[in-house]
């Protein structure tokens, strides 16, 4: 790993400097994670007197559970939809902002602030808009002949959480796409224009390919976001319901473990989630080291 050519000779000082960070990390991150791994291999008797080591029994039961497999599938649908919807919208807006000159900053300001809105609050905002009794969206949908009730209809509920989660993520993706677009060399675009390529052709043959590092980075970040940071959105809108229709993995691990107190299963779920984050982080960091090239 990289370090300075010249360094201070102190022997003890670096450890002192590292102590606060390492203490917090070990006590509140690594130790609990190891505990989760440990209890995922154990089973507690109903009275909590005795724990026995059961190897992969918790995992076997977990993957035999129809509701867990269902939750995996719903998480995949949810994460994919949020990622695609929010990235497409953001890219469109970023390209548009990149075309305007004078009002550029104004539009940017108006588009970026949702980053600071907490996921739960986002959930409440959209829950209010789609409220079946007084919400404006169901009212308009009724006028179009569509009946909306996310309290009983699982598909409606899923659509609601996807819209809310995508809305929150637009600002983030937008900023990264704008940064990416600004690093596309203007000379390339001008050269293509001189050769007679119109704006759309220029976008698809020059700008979009040059954006691919940004797009790939955002893809991973968005999947990560949809899988882990949307807890608040689900909790504020549907709480995993109706009939498990929006019970994504991160919500299920909370409701089974913290509310349902099923420690063995919840720990196994935690470990599965950890493996997913580790995989996503590994992909993200490998990519940062070597950018997508052609």
């Amino acid at each position: 790993m990289q370090a300075k050519r010249t360094i201070f000779p102190n022997k003890v000082l670096p450890y002192v400097l590292l102590v606060p960070q390492l203490a917090v990390t070990l006590i509140f991150f690594i130790w609990p994670a190891l505990q989760a791994v440990k209890s995922s291999f154990e089973r507690e008797d109903p009275f909590g007197f005795k724990t026995t080591f059961v190897w992969f029994e918790n995992y076997r039961r977990l993957f035999a559970e129809a509701s867990y497999i269902g939750s995996l599938g719903r998480t995949a649908v949810f994460a994919t939809s949020v990622t695609v919807l929010s990235m497409c919208l953001s890219l469109l807006l970023a390209v548009a902002v990149n075309r305007v000159l004078r009002t550029n900053r104004l539009y940017t300001t108006l588009l970026v602030w949702p980053y600071a809105v907490a996921p739960v609050v986002v959930g409440i905002l959209w829950w209010f808009m789609f409220n079946p009794t007084i919400g404006i969206a169901p009212y308009m949908l009724r006028a179009l002949g569509v009946s909306w009730n996310h309290r009983v209809d699982g598909v409606d509920a899923m659509i609601l959480v996807i819209i809310a989660a995508s809305w929150k993520q637009i600002s983030y993706n937008f900023l990264f796409f704008v940064a990416g677009l600004q690093s596309v060399p203007q000379s390339l675009i001008e050269a293509a224009a001189i050769d007679g390529a119109g704006p759309f052709k220029r976008f698809w043959t020059i700008v979009f390919p040059l954006l691919s590092p940004t797009t790939f980075f955002l893809l991973i970040v968005n999947i990560n976001y949809a899988m882990f940071d949307t807890f608040g959105i689900i909790d504020a809108t549907t709480q995993g319901g109706p009939a498990q229709a929006t019970n994504i993995l991160v919500y299920k691990v909370y409701s089974d473990g913290f509310l349902g107190l099923n420690i063995g299963s919840s720990s196994a779920q935690s470990v599965v989630l950890m493996l997913i984050v580790i995989a996503l982080t590994a992909i993200q960091f490998r990519f940062v080291e070597r950018r997508v090239q052609y």
Partner: protein
């Protein structure tokens, strides 16, 4: 602009205006709802124009709150959120800048190990280790306290990486010169490195303040005493009064107040915010 196409320019603005409408509309609706009296929600459709009860709703929520929903006055929760967000941001910055300094400017056994331990925090969000982390905090007697809300969240790999990246760009000559002039490591850190890191610290502060403010799951787990509720989790309690329809005007007044501080931070410090966001995430 390469060429002039009026239709495309029109389309561009149309897209942007639609985008702004999509982004702003939910919040506009919440604001409108927060200015009405409770009776205005009985007619079957939310009002679309401001009502006359704004000041009354906001002051009611700030000073009294809806105690039947188990939520204290909003002013207490806002204060808790403010304390939590500021201390998390400051704490993360302090411990990260110190550890980045150790990792970049010193060579010592287990340096790589320390780096990897910090890196691992990226892979362990609270959501994947809820119960054991809760247990550690409860064993340490930190439930329902500010330290319990704050300390478990202040390890930061991203902040450490950002400072490390920045320190690596500081020219070696600067440090050599400082050493020739007789400055020890802490003097070099305080008098040279810290002033150089000012913009990075400010940008990080903006991002981390928002991070601290929007925390939801963690306060939900460690606080059962309403004196320690943060506003973001308190709102959920208000909205979840399941037996009856929530009192929309009050809930939305609370929503507006909970959104305002971090949104203002983003709008007023947009440049630092963008810098912090784009650089920490690399």
């Amino acid at each position: 602009m390469v060429e002039n196409r009026p239709f495309l320019a029109f389309l561009t603005h149309l897209v942007l205006i639609l985008g702004v409408v999509i982004v702003v509309f939910p919040v506009y609706l919440a604001f409108i709802a927060s200015t009405h009296g409770p009776g205005d929600f009985m007619r079957g459709l939310v009002p679309l124009l401001p009502g006359p009860h704004m000041i009354e709703n906001y002051s009611f929520m700030l000073n009294e709150g809806i105690s039947s929903a188990g939520a204290p006055p909003l002013s207490i929760m806002l204060l808790n959120s403010l304390v939590m967000a500021i201390l998390i941001a400051v704490g993360k910055i302090i411990i990260s800048i110190l550890s980045a300094y150790a990792i970049v400017f010193f060579k010592f056994p287990f340096r790589l190990l320390a780096f990897w331990i910090i890196f691992i925090t990226l892979m362990l969000p609270v959501e994947v280790r809820i119960i054991p982390t809760f247990k550690v905090v409860s064993d340490l007697g930190m439930l329902n306290s500010y330290p319990g809300l704050i300390i478990p969240l202040i390890a930061s790999a991203t902040a450490t990486f950002l400072f490390r990246q920045f320190f690596l760009t500081v020219p070696d000559e600067l440090m050599e010169a400082a050493r020739v002039d007789g400055a020890g490591p802490m003097k070099f850190f305080r008098d040279i490195l810290l002033p150089l890191s000012r913009t990075n610290i400010a940008a990080l502060f903006v991002i981390l303040f928002i991070y601290g403010w929007v925390q939801y799951l963690w306060p939900l787990l460690v606080t059962t005493d309403s004196r320690y509720y943060t506003v973001v989790m308190g709102i959920k309690r208000l909205a979840a009064t399941a037996d009856s329809e929530p009192q929309w005007n009050f809930v939305m007044a609370a929503v507006m107040l909970a959104m305002l501080p971090p949104v203002l931070v983003v709008i007023l410090m947009q440049r630092l915010f963008v810098k912090g966001l784009v650089e920490t995430e690399k």
